[in-house]
């Protein structure tokens, strides 16, 4: 393989640890204060990670018994946005659903929302159990640790306040490390960070800037929006959905400071689209990636060729896909949030044409 070909098929992950290096602050107190509640993901031992974008930190909530409501599982809730709004004493238009995560132990659904859209917007974490009971999870007695995510350096000491905002779009926990994808309102480049968990004060974290070369000779500079850990041929990897919808794999163990990581663009999933969420599941002995999108529905992507798919090198000529194939699941429409409920179902939040959000379990396709 020529050097040119090698770099045509690969993404280059360069390390720039000086930008956005997390500055962990360990708290063993009870009752975190959240400025906002964004993406959620579960870690070990009923730990729920919640991204606080406004507060520029990741909080690890040790839920303990709060991981479970009265009934295991999650019951469908029609009009989940209206139900939540009613409980919180507001109009459904004032409720913004930010993420959905299913507890791996209770299989209850956890939903992070913002109550209000103005200056007094308040983050709220809710739990839905197998009886459809919706409860606000009070954080006042929850033991937690957190890790602050520092902003990029400010060279101008006179600036009143750093206007830079980092938006975490996805998180995943793998074997003692929390991976975090995020965007910035100033720098259009891909950031993927990892933190060791439990958080330690000595952990400076890893910050990597991802470049991929899926389009001819040009790097796209496009950010990762969502990703999922997955073992490809025995190699623990991250499968990342980029903003402009290429699907890229790269090995986790190379995401170290000072390392140069090659990733491979394994699929081009079409334009005018943004990936929203993805999960991996097994059905009939085969693994599949299920990926929701803003405008291309929910895709079911067999993973069997993730290991041997040759990296894409050229722009996709006026077509909508290339690389590993996928199937669009016709019955899954309007999916805004998605997480695995159990071995046979995925829990989704869909929005219908009337604008109503519904929490519902669907059979894995």
């Amino acid at each position: 393989m020529s050097l040119r070909t090698l770099f045509s098929v690969c993404a280059i992950v360069g390390v720039c640890a000086f930008v956005l290096a997390p500055q962990p602050v360990v708290s063993a107190a009870e009752g975190p204060t959240l400025a906002s509640g964004g993406p959620l993901t579960f870690g070990p031992d009923n730990v729920l990670f919640i991204a606080d974008n406004a507060g520029a930190k990741i909080v690890a909530l040790e839920l303990g018994d709060l991981a479970s409501g009265g009934t295991p599982g999650t019951k469908d809730v029609a009009g989940i946005d209206q139900q939540i709004a009613a409980l919180l004493g507001t109009d459904a238009r004032e409720i913004q659903i930010n993420d959905l995560a299913i507890s791996p132990t209770s299989h209850n659904a956890f939903i992070s929302v913002s109550r209000g859209r103005g200056a007094t917007a308040t983050p709220v974490l809710l739990r839905v159990d197998g009886a459809g009971e919706i409860e606000v999870v009070s954080l006042s007695d929850v033991t937690y640790t957190d890790s602050e995510l520092s902003n990029a350096p400010v060279a101008d000491p006179g600036s009143r306040r750093d206007p830079r905002a980092s938006s975490i779009t996805d998180m995943a926990y793998v074997d003692g490390r929390l991976f975090i994808a995020g965007l910035s309102n100033e720098e259009f480049s891909s950031k993927l960070r990892s933190l060791d968990y439990p958080f330690t004060s000595a952990d400076e974290g890893t910050s990597v800037e991802i470049w991929h070369a899926a389009h001819g000779q040009f790097e796209t500079h496009s950010p990762v929006y969502t990703f999922v850990p997955y073992s490809v041929g025995g190699e623990q990897s991250l499968i990342a959905g980029y903003l402009c919808t290429p699907l890229v794999k790269f090995p986790i163990d190379q995401l170290r400071p000072g390392a140069k990581v090659m990733g491979t663009t394994i699929a081009e999933l079409g334009n005018r689209n943004r990936p929203l969420d993805m999960v991996v599941y097994t059905k009939d002995g085969k693994d599949y990636l299920l990926m929701s999108n803003t405008s291309r529905g929910v895709m079911k992507i067999p993973t069997e060729h993730f290991g041997d798919q040759e990296g894409l090198t050229d722009p996709v000529p006026d077509g909508n896909q290339a690389g590993v194939g996928y199937e669009t699941i016709a019955q899954m429409t309007g999916v805004e949030q998605l997480d695995l409920l159990d071995d046979e179902h995925v829990m989704v939040i869909t929005r219908n044409e009337a604008g109503q959000a519904n929490l519902e379990a669907m059979a894995l396709p």
Binding site: G14, G89, T90, R117, A155, D156, A165, N185, F218
Partner: protein, 422 residues
């Protein structure tokens, strides 16, 4: 936790003493806090042996603070209050006795909605109150239903429910928020312009701004999907600045969207950025006026920044004159504000006030203390960009094969331009 307890049953409602009553008395003289309550009082027939309570529902805001507003039920008899104190009701029982729900607008979904979460308390006098978990929204009506037959000991009494609709009025506020500034501030941008910053005069609401921003070409036609659709994430922490990214799929060469649709901006044409005045600010009010900004578009800029072309005008020692740095092209406003600074010989940042001017081709630092003689350095972090996202030594679009020759390192490190104050 509360079991949903749904709906009001008008047929059972005792309304004969209901009245509208402004609560300025309760809420104080400040007119903006004057709550309006459809207060309902009931003296319906009680049980044969018990005096019927004369119940009244009202909205109170202690200390004139609307955020602390609570719903009160007054008129309970001493026997009822004593029974309540002794009963230790569960959350579900409280909600069945005294329920506050959001009044829904036009809604044909048929959904049954649960009551508002909150806490119940008994006062020293004859009142019982409900405090919501989150403050009542201004202007949103809430239905209150008190069910006397759920009072301990009155289960068999012939008492009808008392209902009221309460709300905190939302004062009308004249729209005052405007688009204060736009960056780039110049009227000429490259064909591969990467982003635009909209600065507002007051905090805005957390909604998807792209619904309110559009681009028209020189003939007044809407440009198709020019911006990156990312939802609500691109606000600054104060919600005063919104970042609009041009869709990189249309900016970068080689991407299918670019090949098919072309760049959203075409060299030689003029464009108008249009901001819809219905964009709500943090108070929910529209903008005071529509906003438009016109740009002419020049050729694409694919040249990395070269600090050798930056010119410094160095002040004299002992003065508080400005250090002025001139660039041959406009830089990204936010990044030049954040990532350019001055350090003294010891590596300490020089404190002062930074201004940008001349369409972001000029950066100036006025020190807070007079310049001391000595060696200094202008420091530029590697994130500094021009309008097209080109950085020091690295264009936004990079030929990866050239990058391989330089060992694949990411672009640039902190760049320093030394200078001397004499």
């Amino acid at each position: 936790m509360q079991t949903p307890f749904f709906g009001v049953t008008p047929a059972r409602t005792c309304r004969r003493h209901a009245e509208f009553r402004p609560l300025s008395r309760v809420l104080g003289a400040r007119p903006h806090l004057a709550a309006v309550v459809l207060a309902a009082a009931a003296a319906c027939s009680g049980g044969p042996d018990t005096a019927a309570p004369a119940i009244e529902i009202r909205l109170e805001a202690p200390d004139d603070d609307a955020r602390g507003a609570r719903v009160e039920v007054v008129g309970l008899t001493p026997a009822d209050l004593a029974a309540l104190r002794a009963a230790d009701l569960t959350d579900d029982q409280w909600a069945e006795l005294f329920r506050v729900t959001v009044v829904r607008g036009n809604d044909d979904s048929g959904l049954e909605l649960p009551p508002v979460l909150g806490s119940y308390a008994l006062g020293d006098d004859d009142q019982l109150w409900f405090s919501p978990m989150f403050p009542f929204d201004l202007g949103l009506p809430y239905s209150v239903q008190f069910e006397p037959t759920r009072l301990p000991g009155r289960e068999t009494a012939e008492l009808e429910p008392v209902v009221a609709v309460v709300s905190l009025p939302k004062p009308y506020v004249e729209p005052t928020t405007v688009v204060a500034r736009v960056f780039p501030s110049g009227d000429s941008i490259p064909e591969n312009q990467l982003k635009i910053y909209l600065h507002f005069s007051a905090p805005m609401s957390n909604v998807d701004g792209l619904e309110y921003v559009s681009l028209r070409d020189g003939r007044g036609r809407a440009v198709e999907e020019p911006f990156l659709p990312l939802g609500t994430e691109f606000w600054d922490p104060d919600h005063l600045r919104y970042t609009v990214f041009f869709d990189p799929g249309r900016v970068k060469q080689g991407l299918e969207l670019n090949e098919r649709l072309g760049r959203p901006l075409q060299e030689g044409d003029t464009y108008t950025l249009v901001v819809d005045p219905t964009w709500p600010d943090a108070e929910g009010n529209p903008l005071q006026a529509p906003f438009e900004k016109r740009f002419s578009v020049g050729p694409a800029d694919v040249t990395p920044l070269d600090p050798a072309t930056w010119r410094l005008r160095v002040p004299a020692s002992g003065s508080t004159q400005r250090l002025v740095v001139s660039f041959p092209e406009p830089l990204d406003h936010a990044l030049m504000r954040r990532a350019v600074g001055v350090e003294d010989a010891t590596g300490r940042s020089v404190d002062g006030t930074v201004e940008t001017s001349n369409w972001e081709t000029r950066w100036a630092l006025t020190p807070s203390q007079p310049w001391a003689p000595g060696a200094y350095a202008l420091v530029a972090a590697p994130i500094v960009e021009d309008l097209a996202g080109n950085r020091i030594g690295a264009a936004f679009e990079i030929d990866v094969f050239e990058r391989v020759d330089v060992d694949g390192t990411t672009a640039g490190e902190e760049h320093r331009i030394p200078f001397e104050i004499r």
